[in-house]
Amino acid sequence: MARLPEALRAPALSVAAVAAALAAGAAVLRLAGYAPGPALWVMANAAFGGPFALADTLVKATPLALCGVGVALAFRGGQFNIGAEGQMLMGALAAVAAGLQLASGWAMPLVLASAAAAGGGWAFLAAWLKTARGVSEVISTLMLNFIAFWLVSWLVHGPLQEAAKSYPQTEMVAEALWLGRWLPPTRLHAGVFVAVGAALVAYGWLFFTASGLRLRVLGDSPQAARTAGISPERTAWLALTLSGACAGLAGGIEVLGVSRRLYEQFSPGYGYMAIAVALLARRHPLGVLPAAVCFGALEVGAAGLQRAVGVSAGLAGVVEAFVVLAVVAVSGRRDAPA
């Protein structure tokens, strides 16, 4: 077999994984009694056909990319953060809380910073539990997801509920804080640039700084890290906190860019999908961008398929799961943190 250049091998495997997953999805469609060809065409059209479709896909891809960058950072550092969902919710909560107090456009960086801090703080809890009490971060981040979800649920039913009390949701944040929409009437907002920027910064930090190198050493070999004088505890804190901060930022961006408020079903599981995004990207911050677009398109496409043909949106979930399986199957254990 002709060998691809090293730099192309990982992306090629990811593309192959997506292709394999789509083929499997097509087979499922056929089993369900639909003609796979036209169905896939409907999906592609819903996700990429025209400015509205494209904007929808990018709007979905934005929180996926931010959470995905966070998950990729944690995985690179050997920390299995599966709590991006909860960290994102805490970020959204902080953004709404801050945004309801501050009504000036100048406060936008402050609102986003509080979102990132809340997400980072939420993840730091898991990091602290791990280094101080030996609790696996897999368990703690997952449990913290539930806590965050029910906390938000209680708040939007109680203390933070809108004045009208008609829906379980908060008031809207001031319009001055809304992220600019640059292709009206689509919902495409400036958060896309934040996601791209976060991916670039994460890439530069991870691969071109001393502390990024330390994080990757810990992820590759905790023992080698210790030999090199790297503190596993502090580095694990850093990996998880940065990871949570990215997810928290995703929550803040989603509030200021799309929802303007917080409600119970705020996230359709972006934080969980981000794990698949990070794996498809093979834990590379730049790879997260196309991977997030891919998953965003899948979401939008499946919704389109449901509207047009009545296929359950659950199918998208099936295809997503196939993508993750295919990625894990082609990359083996190497990419998952031990």
């Binding site: 090293e6 071109f208 700084t209 001393a210 502390s211 990024g212 190198l213 330390r214 990757r216 050493v217 590759d220 070999s221 023992q223 080698a224 890290a225 210790r226 030999t227 090199a228 004088g229 790297i230 503190s231 190497r334």
Partner: protein, 499 residues
């Protein structure tokens, strides 16, 4: 009486031709030595003889009849027994359970008889994991004997044994020979091969270079055949000038260990420019000692660096110029999936030589540094950005040594620094150690290769069961060193106390 033979065996792994037309006849009642550097093809040949690997070409013959092994099961049924370098015993099972594992019709009488021959009759119901290494190895041989092997393959069998244990193994191999079995003895130690074997075959780069009667071979011939060129005569390097000052002083150091013995009150000092050897069979507390010195393991007692108390913790000791080459390069020394360049600066990633503002790393400066290291140590690699995992073991170890020596450390603690690397890499690493010591490095050389310690150290101590003997001169009688390594009580009384 069975004659075994390999005929024109070839095996390729990717770009590497591991075996290239190897033919070998193993006569009954003989001990056949198989010599070669790492990567010469010894292990691949063993694996094929044992049915675990299928050759691309060629076949195995038993008494002139062609055999085809689909798996190790077939080979065992045909009478091949393999004792791996790393034992394959279920540690929580007894010896008996280990031997009978997978045998549908256990034959107690045969087991007893075989155990008697090996002197294991009393250990049959002992749990394997609690037995000394030498006994566990005999349990492995017992497995082969019980299955009535006519060809016994011993893969680097003395690597983990004390000298007395090795002697016992040799005696047993001779007994097997007398009983008409064929024994293949794989080693890279010339002296052993010449002492024990009747015939010696040298492999190099997958080919048979020479097959000689041991009585007609000299160590020089064999070494030359292994290396492909005549060796320089044994080092007549001038003895290193040792300073007067104690660079590293260790007083009553004690440390717990995760498994096996820890360190119990070890005291020694190393002067500047000195190589201080610590001999001993693996698993006698060496790892705990090395980690305690490196600052990786909490310890009681005192460590002084240049007459100042050594600071606690790995990072602080690193900053104080105490470097560490751990025994397990693949896990503790290097991050295998990271690049050569990244591994080359591990531990020094914050050095002002390449760290710019904001923690940014200057990749051009790092590349220059890597080029210097790879040139000085002749490290072969695809590129500086290739993962370290793509380098051979020898090149990985040279990279590790290069990194630890690069910044003129005051003290280096090196554990089995040449374990499992080829002869050329061993020579390169030893040269580098001597050169660094000539410039004032104090080296603590912890090794289970006694030859390595004897040829490099100015003074040495022996470690056994967590205790460290008093320092001995390198010309101390081998019998004394051997007895200390084996934990002989009276010898320890004479040399052990570290007042």
């Amino acid at each position: 009486m069975t004659t075994w033979a390999a005929r024109d065996i070839a095996k390729r792994y990717g770009a590497v031709q591991a075996l290239d037309g190897v033919s070998l006849t193993i006569e009954p009642g003989r001990i056949h030595g198989l010599l070669g550097e790492n990567g010469a093809g010894k292990s691949t040949l063993m694996s094929i003889l044992f049915g675990a690997t299928r050759p691309d070409r060629g076949h195995i013959e038993r008494d002139g009849r062609r055999m085809s092994f689909a798996s190790a099961r077939d080979a065992i049924a045909a009478g091949v027994g393999l004792v791996h370098q790393h034992f394959h015993l279920v540690e929580s099972f007894t010896i008996r359970e280990n031997v009978l594992l997978g045998d549908a019709r256990p034959n107690e009488a045969r087991l007893r008889a075989a155990a008697e021959r090996l002197g294991l009759a009393g250990d049959l119901d002992a749990v394997a994991g609690r037995l000394p290494v030498g006994v566990r190895q005999r349990a492995e041989i017992l497995k082969a004997l019980y299955r009535q092997a006519t060809l016994l393959l011993l893969d680097e069998p003395t690597a983990a044994l004390t000298p007395p244990e090795a002697e016992a193994l040799f005696a047993f191999a001779r007994e097997l020979r007398a009983a008409g079995a064929s024994v293949v003895f794989i080693t890279h130690k010339l002296r052993e091969a010449l002492e024990l074997c009747d015939t010696v075959t040298v492999l190099r780069q997958g080919r048979v270079i020479a097959t000689q009667r041991a009585t007609e071979a000299t160590p020089d011939d064999l070494a030359a055949a292994m290396l492909g060129e005549r060796l320089a005569p044994p080092t007549d390097a001038p003895p290193l000038a040792i300073g007067e000052r104690a660079r590293l002083r260790v007083e009553r150091l004690s440390a717990a260990s995760d498994a096996g013995p820890g360190v119990e009150g070890a005291s020694f000092e190393v002067r500047d420019g000195e190589i201080f050897g610590i001999a001993g069979v693996d698993g006698n507390g060496q790892t705990a000692l090395a980690e305690a010195l490196a600052g990786l393991r909490p310890a009681a007692g005192r460590v002084w660096l240049d007459d100042a108390p050594a600071p606690d913790g790995r990072r602080a000791r690193l900053a104080a110029g105490l470097r560490y080459m751990p025994a397990d390069r693949r896990r503790a020394g290097l991050a295998l999936n990271l690049s050569v360049a990244e591994n080359a600066i591990l531990g020094d990633e914050a050095s002002p030589a390449w760290r710019r503002w904001g923690g940014r790393l200057d990749s051009a400066a790092i590349r220059r540094h890597v080029a210097t290291l790879t040139e000085r140590f002749a490290i072969r690699m695809p590129s500086a950005s290739a993962p370290v995992a793509t380098l051979s073991g020898g090149n990985q170890q040279k990279l590790l040594a290069a990194r630890e020596l690069a910044r003129r450390p005051r003290v280096l603690v090196a554990v089995n620094p040449t374990w499992g690397v080829d002869v050329a890499a061993v020579a390169a690493i030893h040269r580098a150690f001597r050169a660094a010591c000539a410039e004032g490095l104090s080296l603590v050389l912890i090794s289970n290769e006694l030859d390595e310690i004897l040829s490099l150290s100015q003074r040495l101590a022996v470690m056994h069961a967590g205790r460290l003997s008093r320092a001995l001169p390198p010309d101390a009688p081998l019998t004394v060193i051997g007895r200390l390594m084996a934990g002989d009580g009276p010898t320890w009384e004479r040399h052990g106390s570290t007042a």
